[in-house]
């Protein structure tokens, strides 16, 4: 037993298993968050029936998708139709291997970490194209064509934005990028007298386009293309596409957080007196407020029953206990990095949902002109300016 724990592959394998096992659940809850936030923006309630305030909705959805009939169109290319949804799910989960969740929670730290993420997103596009083509149907093919053009265009802008960050860090390794921000005592987004905010904005826009989110969701634009490349997919295969989409949102958010927002570092990591307020008091207040909010929500359960109220109260108490755990110094040291990383990724995911709720979809020619005529020149200019300022 001792020797298994001591083995150098032990920690990476455990972390991998936890990520692969937990991520589908997390993706389900990102979907729930998205539905709830969008509902709130549109003055609706969102899912309310399955569990109190729809808290069990992702599980119900997963069961529904698994139990659905698996339809393969008669004229489809069966082998490729089968293979296509596996590709993006595989690549998105592979990219998790280089994401540093905290100082201790990282599967592997390779010296081309950022390139691995960008390579995986490049291969992931194949899933969309192959899926769209193998369905042997018009809407999916149109969706696949749009997506390949879109993703190839925005990959350039994304790469230019990443280059700015890599240039400042001087390394491609994800862990070292964060350590470099600790050394320079500043998050890269504020570095170079604030000029790095430009590549960050380019990164954010290109990231939304790379993950096929509104306002750049032309590959699946439901009002024009039914569901784009996913039209012929149903049940579990469709769920794989969905999982891949949310995994890539998380990965690209994580890459952005690592490169621009200081990864697992707390804000002002070098100001010693902020240690207690930010690392102990802030999570405590956050979780206590969450718990109090849950208590308050028990009064607003739509189909009210005692069991639902008790369920809600249990969640509230769990949140409060989680908050109190941060008071124990040993536990705090172990989880605080993960807390900050997930909080920052959560902010980016929320930003993406917010943008989805506010912007209308771009027309195809607008999409191309934003990508080629604005983002790429701005990205090139940002590389130039940041290279000069970085040398000063």
């Amino acid at each position: 037993m001792e020797s298994i724990v001591q083995h150098p592959l032990f920690t990476p394998v455990v972390i991998t298993l936890v990520i692969v096992g937990l991520f589908p659940l997390l993706a389900g809850y990102i979907v729930l968050l998205e539905r709830k936030v969008l509902a709130d923006m549109q003055v609706r309630l969102g899912p309310m029936r399955v569990g109190p305030h729809g808290i069990l909705q992702p599980i119900a959805d997963a069961v529904k998708l698994l139990a659905k009939e698996d339809v393969i169109p008669a004229a489809a290319d069966r082998a490729l139709f089968w293979l296509a949804p596996v590709i993006p799910a595989f690549t998105a989960l592979t990219a998790f291997a280089v994401l540093p969740f905290s100082e201790y929670i990282v599967v592997t730290d390779v010296n081309v970490g950022l390139l691995v993420i960008s390579a995986m997103s490049a291969v992931g596009v194949l899933g969309i194209i192959v899926g769209g083509w193998s369905s042997n149907s018009h809407y999916p093919l149109l969706g696949a064509l749009r997506s390949s053009a879109q993703l190839v265009s925005y990959e350039v802008a994304l790469a230019l934005a990443l280059i700015c960050g890599v240039m400042t860090a001087g390394t491609l390794s994800m862990v070292e990028i964060v350590e470099r921000q600790l050394e320079r005592q500043i998050w890269f987004v504020f570095d170079h007298y604030g000029l790095m905010i430009i590549p960050f904005m380019v990164f954010l826009i290109a990231a939304i386009a790379e993950t096929n989110r509104l306002p750049f969701d032309l590959p699946e634009a439901e009002s024009e293309l039914v569901a784009g490349f996913m039209t012929e997919y149903s049940g579990f295969r469709w769920a794989l596409y969905f999982l891949a989409e949310y995994a890539s949102i998380f990965v690209i958010g994580g890459a952005g957080v690592t490169l621009f927002w200081g990864g697992w570092l707390r804000p002002f990591p070098n100001v010693a007196w902020l240690e207690w307020p930010l690392n102990v008091a802030f999570p405590l207040v956050l979780f206590l407020a969450g718990g109090a909010g849950c208590f308050w929500l028990t009064k607003r359960l739509m189909p009210f029953s005692r069991w639902r109220a008790i369920f809600m109260a249990v969640i509230a108490v769990t949140l409060v206990i989680t908050g109190l755990v941060f008071l124990i110094p040993a536990v705090n040291r172990a989880v605080i990095g993960l807390f900050w990383f997930l909080l920052k990724v959560g902010v980016i995911v929320y930003l993406m949902i917010w943008i989805r709720g506010t912007f209308p979809r771009f027309r195809y020619d607008q999409l191309m002109s934003i990508g080629w005529k604005y983002l790429i020149p701005i990205g090139m200019g940002a590389v130039l300016v940041n290279a000069v300022v970085g040398m000063l």
């Binding site: 290319d77 490729l80 390779v110 010296n111 081309v112 390139l115 691995v116 960008s118 390579a119 997103s121 490049a122 291969v123 596009v125 194949l126 194209i129 192959v130 083509w133 093919l141 696949a144 064509l145 390949s148 053009a149 190839v152 990959e155 390394t171 491609l172 390794s173």
Partner: protein, 169 residues
């Protein structure tokens, strides 16, 4: 041991993918087998501790080149292309060339098989501290001029393709 097994797996990727690329009738399948072949090459790069080449191989060749090939091939009417003859009249010339090259390789392999043993990978500073940084250093100091010439060549190619594609500029 693990390295040897992985080498044979990646080699099978490269060769099998290559053979299937030229023999498939459906051109989309051909393009996808080409991806398998390129993935094998990327794996071989990784086995030789060339992480940067591995990542760039995937980003540029799979994410860029093959994607554009697929983009074009998807628009082709496949029923028609499947009925076309795959070989033209000069196939026996190619066959003869392949046989000659095959005999040559077999002969050379037979003569120098003992000296072919590759031996241990050198544990130089580059393999230990990460060769991505080394590559960047060398590329932007020693080989700066060839690098700039190559970028100029690419620029000319881009401008040329725009001139050829657009009737009216």
């Amino acid at each position: 041991m693990a390295d040897t097994i992985l080498f044979y797996i990646f080699a099978a990727f490269v060769l099998g993918g290559g053979v299937l690329t030229v023999t498939r009738r459906n051109s989309v399948h051909s393009a996808l087998w080409l991806i398998v072949s390129l993935l094998g090459t990327a794996g071989l790069f990784l086995l030789r501790q060339a992480e940067f080449l591995f990542a760039v191989q995937i980003i540029l060749y799979i994410g860029g080149v093959v994607l554009l090939i697929l983009f074009v091939v998807m628009l082709v009417n496949l029923d028609e292309t499947a009925r076309l003859r795959q070989f033209n009249k000069a196939w026996w010339v190619a066959l003869a060339c392949a046989v000659v090259v095959g005999i040559e390789i077999w002969y050379v392999l037979n003569r120098g098989l003992e000296t072919l043993e590759p031996g241990e990978a050198p544990q130089t500073a580059a393999t230990i501290e990460g060769n991505t940084e080394r590559l960047a250093d060398v590329l932007f100091s020693e080989y700066l001029l060839p690098f700039e010439i190559a970028s100029l060549l690419l620029l000319v190619a881009i401008v040329g393709s725009v001139v050829m594609a657009k009737k009216r500029i």
